[in-house]
Symmetry: C2
Subunit: 223 residues, 2 copies
């Protein structure tokens, strides 16, 4: 693919939104990483073979949704996450106990840079994932992630607050959004104060599946 | 259809949203009823035979988009509009000159109740449309519209501010939304402070066309 010869990109992939524009519901907790009732916006993903395989299960759909989900991991050399995406703990880390939502072998298999206000030692996990905690801002996290990705792209996983910060700063090259028909009522918005969006991004692909609409946005090339 | 035997309904039909959640862009004016660049979210409609016929043109698509648009006029006996949807004039009416965006023969062909803070005499137009100006609130407008509709449904045309008020009050029975892949960056949001949405409405239909996704929401029946 011609795209792989380009410079390293910062990409968002498989980022699901409710019909009313939220990427998670209010009330995130240990039991509810997507907030109260928020997990419904990921239902499309749980049906897919790619997701089922990640959870060690058989079967799953192999159509449009699965294809987009699988492609989301293509050519990714490092990841960036917001602190709330890493866990429900707020404020300074009380201890080293919390190691992410994903168990001993997280699905990243590459360096993950967690943007946080609170320093913590790097946390190596099974399967090639190491969590690094970055306390000096989003540009530093991106710089470190690009370096760690060794020429590959960097995937920005969320949450909405962090994606929004990178969006406003014009640092995201491509977003794959998953527009669901679920209603959350309240929660975290991806699009809020992102006035630059219409000016800086083009919709380059729209594909409907049976359950959701996949939309790809790409940063507009300056001539 | 069984639905026509039910009580009168307040419905929203063909209400388009940008990918980032806006139903019009900032900067509404005489030249730009949808704000600066906002008309792009209606592109899907301008392609259709129904819309072209309304503008006295030949041809147009006859697929999913056209079908939804045409059905939007089914069984409608009266309409409700917000004041900004009726025109760009703000504050008290300076004179009787402004008669809506739609020329001498507006596409309503039935009574239209314009919710406004500023009284004005009823304005009869060609083709059966009469604009009535309601100054005592959304419930009064609905009551008057139901009475005028003579058993048929009432269509709430917009803008977003007015639809949102009716949504929050739980007065809308059904919404047909048109989710586009256009970016506006800023403007008027339909979903803002509509926390009751997840509790009060179900998504009852989702149909993708080549250009947009049609979503129908219906008020949940209380058991």
């Amino acid at each position: 693919m011609a795209e792989s010869t380009k410079k390293q990109k910062l990409v968002v992939r498989g980022f699901a939104l409710s019909l009313d524009g939220f990427s998670s519901a209010s009330g995130q907790s240990l039991e509810s990483p997507f907030g109260n009732g928020g997990l419904v916006i990921m239902e499309w993903a749980f049906q897919t073979r790619t997701m089922k395989t990640m959870f060690g299960q058989e079967g799953g759909s192999t159509g449009i949704d699965d294809s987009f989900l699988a492609k989301g991991f293509d050519n990714i050399g490092a990841n960036i996450l917001g602190r709330n995406m890493f866990g429900p703990v707020r404020g300074p880390w009380p201890d080293e106990e919390w190691k992410g939502w994903w168990g001993p072998n997280p699905p990243y298999h590459s360096p993950v840079f967690v943007v946080t206000h609170h320093a913590r030692a790097p946390l190596p996990m099974e399967g090639g994932t190491t969590f690094h905690f970055v306390t000096d801002g989003i540009e530093s996290a991106l710089q470190q992630a690009f370096a760690a990705a060794e020429g590959k792209d960097v995937r920005l996983g969320g949450g909405a607050t962090l994606v929004r910060q990178y969006l406003k700063a014009g640092l995201i090259d491509e977003l794959h959004l998953v527009m669901t028909n679920k209603l959350l009522g309240s929660g975290e918005r991806l699009f809020d104060g992102t006035d630059n969006l219409a000016r800086d991004y083009d919709c380059v692909e729209t594909v409907g599946s049976e359950t959701v609409t996949h939309v790809r946005l790409a940063k507009r090339k300056r001539s």
